[in-house]
Subunit: 196 residues, 2 copies
């Protein structure tokens, strides 16, 4: 299922992040990049806080975009958005035919996540979707002291790790995700904020 | 009143643009850049469509930002935002002590603007504010076929023209303004659009 990947410096990547949870409809932002240096466009959508519509919301945003045909990789910041709205990366890959790379700053604490999910409706279903993202790999970023953790669909871990390094500048976070985060927090909070 | 300007490649610039007019409260976006290559943060605010609160809205957004002390230049896309909400660049310079560069793709048609303003309340006052932006200069951009037009406050035309060229890549629009526009339209319309 893994596509053969020729990685250009200007590879087209859509980085997607969510904003702060200040309402029940949470703003989702897509930053469409060529490589690490050039932002070509911005997408936006909404999903419900702790809802079950996250996967559908992302697929719709991606497929209806004018950048759809050019996008070579979708980058996600974890697999829960807008609180505990679970993102099914297999479904995204299946519906969009675009590989998906999930990036995490820390190794997720599954015990804590399972406990939190147990208080929500559809707890078991949420957990199943989260687990579908598969094995978690530790990869070296450009910041030697701060490795990142990734999950992949439709792309090998080796290619995904190369793209993480290719698209990061001065930090261990790839530019499409860093900028999607700045936009989402800047729009909702009035001023962008770094990750906790 | 013109500041002595040492222009570094990584000069901190805040580019400000508005979004499409789909409601009475119009989203304003600030993209805070280092030079042309690195976006450090995103700001947002609102102003009334065809209101008189634009100058105050921008000054408040700039002064309350954590980037305020670092900002060396404010770039505006014309001097009317959110329809015909006039922006007083003298007032911005006076209140923020940051030079202001106004960029226009075309030489403004003042006869058409005066006529449009005559249908609005405070028409004379709006026109006075617009005229305070002063002389309009044609400057060479990086795109030889597409010069741009600028107005300046607190910075010489020569320095302003150098900054326009320094911060533009692959287009005649400086990156802080290009990206502020992508964000504002992407958030309000779901997908960013180019300028008409």
């Amino acid at each position: 299922m893994t596509q053969c990947f020729h990685i250009k410096d200007e590879i087209r990547i859509l980085g997607i992040d969510d904003s702060a949870l200040i309402s029940d409809n949470v703003l989702i932002v897509g930053a469409f990049f060529r490589g690490k240096g050039w932002i070509d466009g911005v997408l936006s959508s909404y999903m419900k806080r702790d809802g079950m519509d996250g996967t559908e919301s992302i697929i719709k945003m991606v497929r209806e975009s004018k950048y759809f045909q050019q996008t070579r990789l979708i980058m996600l910041d974890g697999v829960t958005y807008a609180g505990f709205n679970p993102i099914d990366i297999e479904q995204i890959y299946y519906d969009c035919k675009i590989p998906v790379l999930v990036l995490m700053r820390k190794y997720p604490d599954m015990t804590r996540i399972e406990k939190a999910l147990s208080y929500l409706p559809h707890g078991g279903e949420r957990l199943d979707i989260i687990k579908k993202a598969g094995e978690i790999f530790r990869v070296k970023s450009n910041d030697a002291l701060n490795p990142v953790y990734i999950q992949c669909k439709g792309i090998s871990v080796e290619d995904a790790a190369r793209i993480v390094r290719l698209t990061s500048t001065k930090s261990n976070i790839p530019e499409p995700l860093r900028v999607a985060h700045l936009i989402a927090t800047g729009i909702i909070l009035g001023e962008s904020r770094g990750k906790a």
